[in-house]
Amino acid sequence: MSLVFDLLLAAALLWSGGRCLSVDRLDRAIVLFIAFGLLMALAWARLAAPDIGLAEAAIGAGLTGALLLDAYGALKRRKE
């Protein structure tokens, strides 16, 4: 049962990572990257490292996502 969950999680990680690099719109790529960070937090929990999972969810997904969205918004505003 846990092997099935691990395989699903690995497939979701690879899919979201690959789509994050290959999707054509930049805002969708950033949102996919945030989803990838949250999936990484799940993977850390599966690897018996819940402290890294918490740090990844708060810093890796939350803070990095906010930074990327802020930069995207600023660049788009300047372009208009």
Binding site: S2, L3, D6, L7, A10, L13, L14, G17, G18, C20, L21, L26, A29, I30, F33, F36, G37, M40, A43, W44, R46, L47, A48, A49, D51, I52, A55, E56, I59, G60, L63, T64, L67, L68, A71, Y72, A74, L75, R78
Partner: protein, 99 residues
């Protein structure tokens, strides 16, 4: 196959995808995304391979915890540099170097 080895393999694939993105993609924000993907792959390899018989090793975990924070700082620096480049040149790609 233990879950540590499985996630280490996933980390290796993620790392190679990130390397390909950093080399092949010209847009700077996408390059930052690929760089972060590369870092996540390296962290997965570190923690995944350090597990023997499902007993976690705390030393690589502490290294990865530090690495996540450093990666966020590097991302913030890269984004600030990209915004400055866009303000100066109006482009979001690095200039091609004349040989």
């Amino acid at each position: 196959m233990s879950s540590g080895l499985l996630f280490a393999c996933v980390g290796a694939i993620l790392f190679s995808m990130g390397v390909a993105g950093v080399i092949l993609i010209g847009h700077l924000l996408r390059r930052v995304l690929a760089f972060n993907l590369m870092g996540s792959g390296a962290f997965l390899i570190l923690v995944g391979l350090a597990q023997r018989n499902d007993v976690p090793d705390p030393v690589p975990q502490a290294m990865v915890l530090t690495g996540i924070v450093v990666a966020v700082a590097a991302t913030a620096l890269a984004l600030a540099l990209a915004r400055r480049l866009h303000a100066l040149t109006g482009k979001l790609e690095l200039p091609a170097d004349e040989a």
